[in-house]
Amino acid sequence: MTEQSSLLLRKQLAELNKNPVEGFSAGLVDDDDIYQWEVVVMGPQDTLFEGGFFKATLTFPHDYPLRPPKMKFISEIWHPNVAKNGDVCISILHEPGEDKYGYEKPEERWLPIHTVETIMISVISMLADPNSDSPANVDAAKEWREDPTGDFKKKVARCVRRSQEMAFD
């Protein structure tokens, strides 16, 4: 699996370079290490995150695609499903065996057919539609549930602004 995982990731990287996908871009941290990726995710249009350029890392296990990568935002981002340390907490990125919350459906869990692209699509759709049922950031979830156009909106707007400042400096 080892060699296979690196080949598979190389293939995906080449494909993404050749046919880039709208909404995010991805590259390697270090050209010699195919398991460490960096990505920039754009906030989806018509959402509070619109206009933001959020930086993140993707770390793949050596037995990818049997196990999922971990994703971490290193841009500040206020979202129910992103922990305060940046860890992205969506069910498709959970390890195959575990079901932390006990109610994840099989189709929402990690599958080996997921690629960087499908993962990023999930992440972008997470930005568009937070899930406050299993929050990684409880405060953000509470705000989002109770008053999405109040404090939540303000905090997100600040993250967006900061991500733009940092993007164009």
Binding site: P20, D46, F53, I113, T115, P130
Partner: protein
Amino acid sequence: MARHVEPDLPPSLACLKNVDTLLRCPICFDFLSISMMTKCSHNFCSLCIRKFLSYKLQCPVCNMQMTEQDLRNNRLLDDLVANFQAARQELSKAHFESPPISPKTPASAVKCKTPRERGQKPSSSIMSQFFQKKSRTTPNKETHEDAQPCNASDPYLSSGKAQHLVIVKEEPIDVEDTSTLSLKPVKEEHTASQSFSGSFQAAHSLSPSKDMKPVIKVECPVCSVSVAQHFINKHLDTCLSSGEKKESLRSSFSKKRHPMAKLVYNLLSVQELKRRLKECHLSVQGSRDQLIRRHQDFVHIYNAQCDSLNPKSVEEIAKEVEANEKIRNQLQGKTKPVMVFSKNQSEKEIEEMHSNYRKQHSSDFSRLIAQVRGRLQATKQAPVKQEVKEQKEDARESCSSDQFSEANFQSPLAIRVEGVEADAGQVAGGIELSSSPTFSDVSISSSISDIFGPESSSNVDDSERTAGQKRPSGSRDGDAALSPVMGKRRRKT
């Protein structure tokens, strides 16, 4: 799991891209190697699917519950892969010798055949997809709304997604495997394997089972004969040295080797583990965990090879296992975490680490940001007018063609982030979907729009610009890019 990366198809052979895609394993994205079909008609490399099933007992494409016992060979695909690879090479050569004409002929010949054959046998569904997707590589962009009208009466359309669920006549399963298996009911090892791969979870939780009593007889991995455990090494020696002659004799009856049992390693002593490793010609050096991993790897490859008409020898497999282990160890030593976090860091500390990381990698990120912005701008300039026409064409097209792959890939992508998407996934998982060997560009692009469609909080917006944009390459990633991920998302009205 071929280990090489093939060169891309020349542009004039882009029409073959879909066949190429369809003949690939959805797990490793290489051409199917010893393809195995699930009950739900999905195909994978034997090794890929067997490895995955040791994590989770479900089909990776449609989530249907399954075990290794449900797998059946799909030799037709193996032959198709071999022939396609050969043809591809020929065509590429021909292409370079006389670029304008020659490569087109075979492609269009294939294309013409397709519609007539569609729906008649499993192989034809592959070709029909090829055809259907071939047309998609013309500058039409399909979205699920386009396909919607055709599905209005579809009872499965609970979530409003476009799913062309095509019920494919199930081919009688090749009975060869099961019959040979049932001819040998005596083998304790085999029994164990059945019950345990049927509930791997249970196996891991150390569930007591009578199957796990010490095995008295074991199956020789070379000739499949049942041998008393303490004689197995001796037997193996003779068996291996008498090699080829025996092999050819046997092969006239049944060349089939039998899969090795999945062991419950927790129950094995180190001594026992080592004995088993020796049986497999594997090294007995290392920690208990290493021994287990080594044996597991061997079993996976060995069992995958059992599905082959020309299985590799035990020694070859052992060599492969040890080579893999070496690479793995090298990698393990090399990898250093990008950021190390401890449990109880304050938000300030975390922000500081993030900030350091951003600074260290600022040039990388600037490049990535420039890329993603460039794409956005390109999108905004995409022609808008063209789209109306394309939508019409798409609708027609999707009505007339079987969208196998669309339905297939639906469920895995129907990721519920907020609870909207759950139904479709379940539906897709629960019914006979298709005989598509793999998913493809079409399926992905449509499922992206599926994801974004219902989730979007925006209102109806017909001026959406992204969906009509066309990317020249028919590759799956490329087409997926067409989905209105960042554009105004298309809404159902």
